[in-house]
Structures are given as C-alpha cells and as structure tokens.
C-alpha cells in the first residue's frame, strides 16, 4: 500500500472544511485519475499527499508510515519517494533545464558525475535533449511542462502526483504526456493524475477518484459526470479500495 487516507478532513484556518471524510487506498503500481469541478479540493488533496499540508483530522498513511506520528526529520525521506508535477510547473527560473531536473538528485546527495548522465538521458526521453542549458523562460509551455515532469520522475518515485498536467496543452500533447505517465506506471510507479478534462480521462480505463464539495467517491473506471452519471452501480463507497 502506497497511500491510505482514513476519514481525512482538512480546513484552512478557521474556514469550512475543504475535504470531508476522505477515505481511499492506493496500491503500488496503480494508476488513478483525480477529478472534480474547480474548487472541489483536488489540489488540497494532492497537497496532503505530497506532505505540504497536515490534515485537520483523520489518518494519513504513506508507504506504511502514519504521518501524524512520523518525526519531522523523517519526512524528507518520504518526500523523496514522491514525484510531483505542479500545475504551474514551479521551475526555478535562474536554473537551466538540466539543473532544474537535477534538483531532486542534488537534494538527495547523488554524486555530480551520475547526475549529468541520468538527467541527460531523461531529458532525451521527454524530447528535450537539445535544451539542457536552456532557462525555463526560453522554453515553451509544453517544454516547461516536460521539464517539470522530468524533475518529478528523475528520482524514480514510488508515487507520482500530477496536478492538471494537461491543463495548458492541446489534446495531442496531453495524450503524449499521459502515455509518458503510463510508461512510468508500467515501471511500477503509482500514478495519480488530477485533471478536470474528462475527455482525456475517458480515453483510459483507469479508476477515478472524484471529488465534489470536499467529498470523495471512488469509481473503478470512468463514467461521465453530469445528470446521467451511469447510476449508483458505477460508483463505489468511499471506503472501498481504489484498486
């Protein structure tokens, strides 16, 4: 088990709960879409999963460790097992594409001699072998996104979280990116893709975590949202396992 949420609730300050009684489990090597309308809490759920936020209540277990009882000094080691593709990429403008991608390795103390080889291969894999020294500002949106993806996967994470990775690209590129994530998934990484693009989700037969009004339901495979959601039989209770 990679991720387990039990009755997790979250609120910002004294505001209303943005997530309520969220319960699900992600197994190793699984692939999920996370969807829901804007403001449903997708980003908040991802923030909980990549340990940028603590829940207001409930239990979060990552890689078999209860986050509430894990000492703060042990959290960086857990974070290194998680790759994150942020919605706004969050590339460092003063660093080259190579240095941006190398960041997780440098943070983990990997020797420089190995870093250049690994990063070069990965940037080649995402089609950016000719842009090793390019600063993010000189790259197109799609290229920046691929740099962000390369940075997320360079450390061979056990869990990959992508927040709207297809939000800024056309459908063709979106599909290419998703095939990229599929390839990673085939290598054993548990992947969660947050997107509100249901046409993209519909092209794959992966389970869907659907958030609405802060509540999560788990669907074994995609069924379109809307008045006709395919009936109750298409939906599992929140306590069902996602995979």
């Amino acid at each position: 088990m990679v991720v387990r949420f039990e009755n997790v609730g979250m609120r910002y300050g004294n505001g209303p709960e943005v997530l309520r009684d969220v319960t699900f489990t992600l197994d190793p090597g699984s692939f999920h879409f996370l969807t829901g309308p804007s403001g449903a809490g997708k980003t908040s759920l991802l923030r909980l999963m990549y340990l940028a936020q603590r829940p207001s209540r409930g239990l979060i277990n990552l890689f078999g460790r209860d986050i509430a009882t894990t000492p703060r000094r042990d959290l960086p080691a857990l974070r290194r097992r998680i790759g994150v593709v942020f919605q706004d990429f969050r590339l460092l403008d003063h660093l080259s594409a190579l240095d941006n991608v190398a960041l997780p390795l440098r943070v983990a103390g990997v020797p420089e001699s190995q870093i250049r080889t690994h990063v070069g291969e990965l940037l080649d894999w995402v089609g950016l072998s000719g842009h090793l020294g390019a600063r993010p500002a000189t790259l197109s949106g799609g290229q920046q996104q691929r740099v962000a993806i390369a940075r997320a996967v360079i450390g061979r994470p056990r869990l990959l979280l992508a927040d709207e990775p297809t939000g800024n690209v056309d459908n063709a590129i979106a599909m290419r990116l998703l095939y990229l994530f599929e390839e990673l998934n085939r290598m054993g990484t548990c992947v969660v893709i947050a997107t509100h693009n249901e046409s993209v989700i519909a092209k794959f037969d992966y389970p869907v975590l659907r958030l609405e009004g802060g509540e999560l339901t788990v669907q074994r495979a995609f069924r379109p949202a809307g008045p006709d959601r395919g009936g109750e039989r298409n939906w599992e209770r929140p306590h069902d396992r996602a995979t």
Binding site: A52, R79, L103
Partner: protein, 300 residues
C-alpha cells in the same frame, strides 16, 4: 568549504547590497571600541606597575637648603638629612633624589628648554622604592620628616592612581557595552535580512522542501550566503578601522611623549582585534542559519 549549492538565488537580493556595509560599520565600531578598551587596559596596568611600590617625598626649597639639626654640612643639608632618615626607615628599599637633569626632563614640556634654571626655587624630589617585605610606618615617617624638614610631604601615587583607575575601568566597561550593543544590532539586522530573504524566496524554499530537501540543505544556502556577505563586510570594516587606528597612533606619536603615554599595541592586542571581524562573520553566518531553521520549522 565555501562552494555550496545556490538553488536559492540569494545573490540577487537587496540584502546582498546593504548587509555588507552594515556589517562593515558594525565591525568598524566594534574594533575601535575594543581598541579603546585594550589601550586603556594596557595603560592602567602600565601605570599600576610603574607606581606600585613607589612614593615621592617633596622637600620645599628652603627646608632643603637649611642646615640639618644633626649638623650635616652642604648646600642641600636639609635634603641630605631627609635622605638619611629615609634610608634608615624600615620599609624603604631605596631613596634617590632627583638631580637637575631629571627635573629638567620633567618640567621641560611646561617650561621649555632651560626653563628649570638653578635660580628657580623648586622643591627637591626624592624617589622612594618601598620594600614589599617590610611594612612602612607612614604616619611616623611623616612626623620625623616634618621635624627635620618643615613642609616636606610624602606623595603616595596610589591616591591619584585610584581615581585614574576608576576612570579607566569606566572606559573599559563602556567599550565592552558598545561592542555588545553593536553585536546585538548586528544580529538583529542579520535576522531581519535573512527573514526578508526567506520571504522573498519562499516559493523556491517550499519547492526544495517538497522535493525532499532536509532543513540543513536549505539552511546551508542561506548560511553560506550570509558568510560571504559577512566576510566581505568584516574585511571592509577592519580595513577602515585599521586605517583609523594607524592614523590615531601616528597623531599620538607626534604629541610630546611626556604628555601622552605610549599607545602602541602588542601582538596580543592585535590578535584580539583580529577576532572581531572573524567573530562578526561567524555570528552573521550562524544567526542566518538559526533564523532559517526556525522559519523552516514552521513548515510541515
């Protein structure tokens, strides 16, 4: 040691421009205050050593010239009688009268060359070195001197030295207070500048944090950046302070040495002064580290 990762672009911050100058000013003030304390300390110990165990007997001119009751002959019969009494007194190791050359040297700065002529009715002075192993009966000695040389006085240098020492200690305390104040202001400035830098680069710090950077990895970048700024500022500060002290020493050397005591510094004092910029740099570095570690502790 100084080649660290620079994932956080701190070099571009405004703090990088103003912090070295503030540290330079702080180091400049601290070095001058420390130099003042060291100079006063070495002066007081020099005075103390010179004056400890000595006294001066002053014999009025008329008493020095008069015939002694014991019948001693000569122009300075009174003075000879005083010397005889002094040398026989328990607790006095030696009693030496100051000759015309010594008097000329002492009064030269005030009266000019040849000012202390033989016609001038000057009191005669006798330098006394005390014997530390035998106590001196000072009231008894005063009484006996008054009998053979009316108006003769004993000057214990410790009386005026005591006041001077109180003043010198006050200067030392003030100097230390200035150094502490400067250090406190410096630390507060570094904390403020580091927190400002942390706030400016919060996005980058959060990113490093989320990809698994330990607090030490992030703090090291702020710490070594602060070290570079601190070292630059300390170098400028010690350079200007050295120039100022050199100028003061030069000016002091031009003043008549009898009016102003020697103010040179030994290796020990110079080493203490060298500690100021090194200490300022290290304090800057560790203050920045602590400020960042505390800010990071507020993150999940």
């Amino acid at each position: 040691m100084f080649r660290t990762r620079r994932d956080v672009p701190l070099d571009r911050d405004a703090a990088g421009r103003f912090l070295p100058w503030i540290i330079a000013f702080m180091v400049y003030l601290a070095v001058l205050a420390t130099a003042a304390a060291l100079t006063v300390s070495s002066l007081t110990s020099a005075w103390d050593n010179e004056v400890a165990g000595t006294m001066t007997v002053q014999v009025p001119p008329r008493a020095a010239r008069q015939a002694a009751p014991a019948g001693a002959a000569g122009a300075d019969a009174g003075l000879q009688a005083v010397l005889e009494v002094l040398r026989k007194t328990p607790g006095v190791a030696s009693a030496v009268p100051l000759g015309p050359v010594d008097i000329e040297r002492l009064l030269g700065p005030w009266l000019g060359p040849g000012g202390a002529s033989a016609d001038l009715p000057l009191p005669r002075l006798v330098d006394i070195v005390l014997d530390p192993s035998a106590p001196l009966d000072r009231p008894g000695l005063s009484k006996r001197l008054a009998e053979i040389a009316p108006g003769a006085t004993i000057e214990d240098h410790r009386v005026w030295l005591r006041d001077l020492l109180v003043f010198a200690r006050s200067v030392e305390v003030l100097s230390v207070a200035i150094v502490l104040l400067v250090a406190a202001v410096g630390i507060a400035t570094v904390v403020y500048a580091t927190r400002a830098g942390f706030a400016i680069h919060r996005g980058t710090v959060e990113l490093l944090h989320m990809i698994g950077a330990q607090d030490a990895y992030i703090a090291a970048q702020f710490q070594w950046h602060a070290f570079r700024l601190g070292a630059r500022g300390a170098l400028v500060g010690i350079t200007f302070a050295g120039a100022t002290l050199g100028l003061l020493a030069h000016l002091a050397g031009q003043v008549e040495s009898a009016l102003l005591p020697r103010m040179g510094m030994g290796i020990g004092e110079l080493l203490v002064l060298a500690v100021v910029p090194i200490g300022a740099t290290l304090v800057t570095m560790y203050t920045a580290r602590l400020a960042v570690v505390r800010s990071l502790a507020e993150m999940v």
